[in-house]
């Protein structure tokens, strides 16, 4: 492997690892907040217990999310110094403001966890809202840098120089709101379905009708409502993201759809593989005219195909599969939520069928997979550019050689952290069962939030 490829793989691995914790770190606070608010409304202790247990999981995940995020932030400068030089000059604001979001999250997370029993209930809710807002803001802001990479704005680029810099125009680059919205919403999808996964699994292991069973059932219901709303909005917004690609990065959309010929009434290809040699898509189900309609709201929309671009500007063609997988999972999650809510609320059944529960168990990992596919699609689909049509990835990479050993070391540390975090979570929740927490919640004198044995 050449050094550029290793640098890309190393950074991609860091991001792929960080994103798991970061996304759950954005999604989970909303679930905790929902549970706290449900408690305020219903005074049902079960919701406090949920909030406590998810907070504990959140705190453990932060233990990996924060250091891997720190790695991501510093590695950007270490591996892509050329990129960060430009970002520092033109687009420093998101990173800068993100620091404040990190501080808000860090301060109030500590307050919520370590001072839970010493502050007033309303202050607990306020702290939690601030944690959720801090997490959301950090996701939105970091995504803004990614948006800028796709739709750079706020400067004039001439003879390798960046002139007339306007950092706020760069901040409000064209795809900021769409992209940030998509990332935020999909994080809420993930948070909700990760909770649903665990709750469904535990529900199957507890006796029907027991206290624990009821608690898990409530957890599933709030996950389905939050997850259902978020995944519906994610799909709507994803549609808009695709329209932005049509406008700003047409070769990425062409690669995502495996479209070679520029045409109106373009078909939408689902599944199949894109063949570079014959320049066509194989074994795909094609829906006539659909792509044109999706890209521009009319069948007459001309969608640009890959043939209109020199081959060295083509993104890797496998992004078609990643895109399909993301959209497929998104659609499935909407379906799951609708079915679950209809079953419970409208058919009024109190048993979920086994198949449905197992689908729920799969939904969390699937949501995380959709996040990974989406990001790899978005970042790899931008290749060969690190800033679209301005700066190439090769130009921005470090000049250092022998990155292989670093790649191995980082990968090794991620394996350690990934394994350890799973063991710690399993250990903790085995030691502190739902019943333990229910009892603690009933005895007011025993601290619940800081309890741990």
């Amino acid at each position: 492997m050449d050094d550029l490829l290793i640098a890309r793989s190393l950074f991609g691995t860091t991001m792929a690892f960080h994103i798991i914790f970061a996304t759950i770190g954005v999604g989970l606070p909303l679930m905790i907040l929902t549970a706290e608010l449900m408690y305020q409304r219903t005074k049902d202790q079960d919701y406090v217990v949920m909030a406590k247990r998810w907070t504990k999981a959140f705190a453990v995940l932060l233990g990996v999310g924060i250091p891997t995020g720190t790695i991501a932030g510093v590695q950007l400068s270490l591996l892509w110094p050329g990129f960060m030089e430009v970002i520092g000059r033109v687009m420093p604001l998101p990173f800068q403001i993100e620091i404040y979001a990190f501080f808000v999250e860090a301060l109030f997370m500590s307050i919520y966890v370590y001072a839970a029993e010493r502050i007033a209930p309303w202050m607990r809710i306020v702290s939690l809202i601030l944690v959720a807002m801090g997490a959301l803001a950090s996701a939105v802001l970091i995504t803004n840098v990614h948006a800028f990479q796709g739709t750079p704005a706020g400067f004039r680029y001439e003879d390798g120089k960046y002139l007339d810099i306007d950092p706020w125009a760069a901040f409000f680059n064209p795809s900021f709101f769409v992209t940030a919205g998509h990332v935020a919403l999909s994080a809420y999808v993930t948070g909700a379905f990760v909770v649903a996964s665990v709750a469904a699994f535990k529900l199957m292991k507890s006796d029907f009708g027991s206290r624990v069973y009821k608690l898990h059932q409530k957890a599933i219901m709030i996950s389905l409502v939050v997850g259902g709303i978020a995944s519906f909005l994610t799909a709507l917004n994803g549609h808009e993201s695709a329209q932005y690609l049509h406008e700003y990065q047409p070769e990425k959309l062409a690669a995502a759809e495996g479209l070679f010929e520029t045409q109106d009434h373009a078909p939408l290809a689902i599944g199949g593989f894109t063949d570079r040699e014959t320049k066509e898509i194989k074994w795909a189900i094609e829906i006539p005219w659909a792509l044109s309609f999706l890209a521009g709201n009319s069948f007459d929309t001309v969608v640009v195909g890959l043939n209109d671009f020199p081959e060295e500007y083509w993104p890797p063609l496998f992004v078609h599969t990643l895109f399909n997988a993301m959209v497929g999972i998104g659609s499935l999650l909407i379906l799951i939520s609708l079915l679950g809510i209809a079953w419970k609320k409208f058919l009024k059944k109190d048993h979920f069928p086994k198949v449905f529960l197992w689908t729920l168990v799969a939904s969390g990992p699937l949501a995380v997979a959709a996040i990974e596919f989406g990001w790899i699609f978005a970042c790899t689909g931008r290749q060969p550019w690190v800033i679209y049509r301005i700066l190439s990835t090769a130009q921005s990479a470090t000049t250092a050689a022998n990155l292989g050993i670093l790649f191995i070391l980082f990968a090794f540390v991620y394996v350690i952290l990934g394994t350890a975090v799973v063991f710690v979570l399993l250990y903790y929740f085995r030691k502190n069962t739902v019943l333990d927490d229910l009892q603690r919640a009933e005895k007011k004198s025993v601290p619940l939030f800081s309890s741990n044995s």
Partner: protein, 348 residues
């Protein structure tokens, strides 16, 4: 003041704040490991009580520091990013292990001991690597050949000057953190722990002063330019030494305010912080205008003026918003007697 000078002052401020917070953070982790078997003195409890709520906030400062470098001095970020690849990656790897295992050790109570050992040991190495960035910016380990800038690791790790910096980082981490924990345990009325940390501070203090002298001696040999410029401010260096002695006095004198207690740790903490502040001002001033000697200066690396203005405004607004948050945090964890004097820490 020119914009570049304002910017480097802000950056220096971040470096100083992070340096103080990080020494306390890594030091507390180390002490919590050292005293883990001495349950009676509560020294480990005290260290953890400080560490649990604060490590995340401390960590955010290192991110703030890196972001400040590339948004204020993008060209320097290019050079630093290139030469710091290896040391920077080492720091990141250790930091990841350290933070994660610190959190794990508080959750998986049965495995507390091995987990605390991992976080304590990885943590205490980090300051040594962090401080190595300073001698690297003095320039003598950087090679500029056929258009490429590279760090010469062989020369870096055979330089006595670098080792004195590392020794200084190590000893002052122990010094500052034991001072702070002494003060913290006194406020918490844990007198056994207090005596332990007071003793540690008495040992680590003179060692870190000795290391500071060794840095000056080796600096004279290896990076004469910065040595000479520092000596121009000899009066300030002597003032700094004076504060060190005041801090030392605070450890030995009987307490004016509470009878029968030896030492005034609060006085020592303040005096020693002042000592570090003055010394690092002298060092920082001597370093100017170079960021990486001799090629990268604050003027040549400075960002676009429009960007600087925008970033500077966010500093002011951000600080205004965050300040109450910090105060509230401080009052809950550093000032609340009920929290500090809890008899059994539920997180143990």
């Amino acid at each position: 003041m020119t914009d570049a000078l304002i910017a480097i002052t802000v950056l220096w401020g971040f470096v100083f704040i992070y340096a103080v917070m990080a020494t306390m953070d890594f030091g507390a982790g180390f002490w919590s490991m050292i005293y883990i078997d001495r349950e009676k003195t509560k020294a480990t409890n005290i260290a953890n009580r400080y560490l649990s709520p604060t490590w995340e906030v401390t960590n955010t400062f290192i991110v703030a520091l890196v972001v400040a470098v590339y948004s204020l001095f993008p060209t320097a970020a290019y050079t630093l990013g290139t030469i710091l690849l290896v040391p920077g990656s080492m720091i990141l790897l250790l930091l990841a292990l350290r933070s994660a295992f610190l959190v794990f050790s508080n959750v998986a109570t049965e495995y507390k001991k091995p987990l605390t050992y991992i976080s304590g040991i990885t943590g205490i190495i980090i300051p040594g690597l962090l401080i190595a960035v300073l001698p690297i910016t003095h320039g003598e380990f950087v090679d500029y050949g056929n258009g490429l800038t590279q760090l010469n690791l062989g020369r870096l790790f055979t330089s006595p000057n670098v080792y004195t910096f590392i020794g200084f980082a190590f000893s002052s981490t122990l010094f500052l953190s034991s001072l702070l924990l002494a003060d913290y345990s006194k406020t918490s009325e844990e007198m056994d722990a207090y005596r332990v940390y007071l003793r540690d501070a008495k040992i680590a203090g003179p060692i870190s002063l000795l290391m500071a002298f060794c840095i000056m001696l080796t600096l004279k040999e290896e990076a004469r330019w910065i040595y000479d410029r520092m000596m121009e401010d000899l009066p300030l260096l002597l003032t700094s030494l004076g504060f060190f002695l005041l801090g030392g006095a605070g450890l030995f004198l009987p307490n004016f305010f509470s009878k029968g207690v030896k030492g005034m740790p609060r006085l020592s903490v303040i005096a020693v912080t002042a000592q570090y502040l003055i010394a690092s001002y002298v060092y920082g001033k001597a370093h100017l205008p170079y960021i990486v000697y001799p090629n990268v200066t604050i003027q040549s690396a400075f960002t676009d003026p429009n960007s600087f203005r925008a970033v500077f405004i966010t500093y002011i607004v951000g600080f205004a918003i965050l300040f109450p948050g910090f105060i509230y945090f401080w009052s809950l964890f550093m000032h609340d007697k009920k929290f500090l004097r809890q008899k059994t820490n539920p997180n143990q």
